[in-house]
């Protein structure tokens, strides 16, 4: 226990970084997911192909390989970002592929009649998407999106492997000083479980408030 309390600020910083990384990447991945899901259902074959390729590539590459490529290899062709930004971009791009698939599944649950009605009253592709399809489609997949957010939270720990000092790395650093692995790692594990619990609760709340019961 002392090992934890003595390094509370260090662990706290790690926790804050994890939360920041999670929030930033969730927002980024959500936007990317909506864009890619839209590409995948667009009337233009080329755009559909781009959307499909995006999902295929980023669902089939390990996140750690992407992080390593982005953080260690891209500087050799002159592309550098601050470490936190790099990690956030990569995780957002990676999780965006998963969110795109979840959102597309949601769009598929919207009745064809809804889309036909939207077109019949003269809405364009973008309008029917924004006012009719997405509001209903997103509500149908709140739970899967919440699960992806929990996976995202756990994946932010991989940023530790390229040098971002978030919760996992902070715990590791504290353990290297204190040599109290059980206390330190259990504490970190509990913090992750708590964060996942919060995401789960928020998801449940949104589901109850927003989901359309048919």
């Amino acid at each position: 226990m002392e090992a934890l309390t003595a390094h509370l600020s260090q662990l706290g910083h790690g926790l804050v970084t994890t939360v920041e990384l999670t929030v930033v990447t969730t927002v980024g991945a959500m936007l990317l997911g909506i864009v890619v899901a839209t590409l995948r259902i667009a009337p233009v074959p080329l755009l559909r192909a781009i959307g499909t390729a995006y999902v295929e590539v980023f669902q089939n590459l390990p996140l750690l390989a992407l992080l390593v490529l982005f953080v260690f290899a891209l500087p050799t062709i002159g592309i550098t970002f601050p470490l936190f930004t790099s990690a956030a971009i990569v995780i957002a791009v990676y999780e965006g592929a998963y969110l795109a698939e979840a959102i597309r599944a949601g769009i598929n649950t919207v009745g064809v009649g809804q889309a036909e009605a939207a077109r019949a009253i003269g809405l364009t592709f973008g309008q029917s998407l924004r006012h009719v399809i997405l509001p209903q489609g997103l509500r149908a997949v709140i739970q899967p999106i919440g699960n992806i957010c929990i996976a995202l939270l756990m994946n932010t720990s991989l940023a530790a492997a390229v040098g971002v000092v978030e919760l996992t790395q902070a715990a590791n650093n504290v353990n290297l000083v204190e040599a109290q692995p059980i206390a330190v790692f259990t504490g970190a594990g509990l913090a992750y479980m708590l964060l996942a619990l919060i995401i789960g609760q928020v998801t449940g709340l949104l589901e109850r408030r927003l989901a359309i019961v048919r």
């Binding site: 259902i41 667009a42 009337p43 233009v44 074959p45 080329l46 755009l47 559909r48 781009i50 295929e56 669902q59 089939n60 590459l61 390990p62 996140l63 750690l64 390989a65 992407l66 390593v68 490529l69 260690f72 290899a73 891209l74 050799t76 062709i77 002159g78 592309i79 597309r104 769009i107 598929n108 064809v112 889309a115 077109r119 592709f125 029917s128 998407l129 399809i133 929990i150 756990m154 994946n155 932010t156 720990s157 991989l158 530790a160 492997a161 996992t168 715990a171 590791n172 353990n175 290297l176 040599a179 692995p181 059980i182 790692f185 970190a188 594990g189 992750y192 479980m193 996942a196 619990l197």
Partner: protein, 289 residues
């Protein structure tokens, strides 16, 4: 055109066709622009030079990377077998009629579903050796992966078992089978068949997880890439090739999962056999009118 794509637009008329053409051109220009920017970045830093790529046409480099891939596949196979077995046990535990068993399995799954694998790897790397549990390198990667993946497998198995019609269990019990027999003879065979696509998808995730060998310095594909890159100083080339290998392997597995999905979990000759049993098709002239 399947239902997915049709939902947002009708068959395009002349005006819509013009718009589609414009969007295609714009998309192509955007793609070409991105490609040109990438090529420019590579070229202006001298990374396009032939001698920076030539090593990847030689066998020793490929042998090294393929050795890495082999290690990845070995780790993935060990993880898959162990975590599927453990996951099945956990799923059965969660569905058991004994409360303590149910509670234990539930706690395990809920805990390890929400703890990052990297944290578990740090535990095996830095915590367990203090208590005399020092695994060989291979198991330092595989054990944490099994711990976290078995929780995922347990959830897949449980959902599959619960999704099966209750009448199946009831019928099994009604003909006098014991609970264990119903599970083994009636429920599991059907549930597993339904689950085949999800299980293969989980394999993709598991194979991606083995890239954590990078952290434990187990020379699987990603760490091999790292070693190779620090040796040859061909950073971006090496990691792009490594990414490509991952992509090929995982995309094939994902494709396999989709084929399974389309065939309702059946693969192999069953379909062929069934068609073989059909009577030969009637000839044109013989069709009854």
């Amino acid at each position: 055109m399947n239902k997915t794509q049709q939902i947002l637009f009708d068959e395009p008329g002349p005006r819509a066709q013009r718009r589609i053409r414009i969007a295609t051109v714009l998309g192509a220009v955007g793609l070409a622009g991105a490609l040109a920017a990438a090529v420019y970045q590579f070229a202006s830093h001298g990374e396009l030079a032939a001698d920076r790529w030539e090593p990847f046409t030689t066998w020793p480099i490929w042998r090294y990377l393929l050795n890495g891939l082999w290690a990845t596949l070995r780790a993935a196979a060990a993880t898959a077998v162990l975590s599927a077995a453990l996951g099945l046990i956990l799923a059965l535990g969660r569905l058991s009629t004994h409360r303590p068993l149910r509670w234990l399995a539930g706690a395990y799954v809920e805990i390890f579903r929400t703890v990052p694998t990297l944290l578990l790897i740090y535990v095996t790397l830095f915590a367990l050796p203090q208590y005399g549990l020092n695994f060989p390198l291979f198991w330092k990667l595989v054990v944490p992966l099994v711990v976290s993946n078995s929780a995922a497998f347990a959830e897949i198995f449980r959902s599959g078992i619960l999704a099966l019609d209750r009448g199946q269990t009831e019928a099994g019990l009604a003909v006098g089978l014991r609970r264990g027999q119903v599970m083994a003879l009636v429920v599991l065979p059907q549930a597993l068949l339904q689950l085949a696509p999800s299980l293969v998808s989980q394999l993709v995730g598991l194979l991606k997880d083995t890239s954590l060998g990078f952290v434990v310095s187990y020379t699987e594909l990603l760490y091999s890439g790292q070693v190779l890159a620090s040796y040859t100083h061909l950073l971006i080339q090496t990691f792009l090739v490594v990414a490509l290998i991952y992509l090929v392997v995982n995309a094939s597995l994902s494709k396999f999962a989709r084929v399974l999905q389309a065939r309702n979990g059946r693969f192999g000759g069953r379909r062929g056999r069934r068609t073989a049993e059909l009577p030969p098709p009637l000839l044109e002239g013989n069709t009854p009118r």
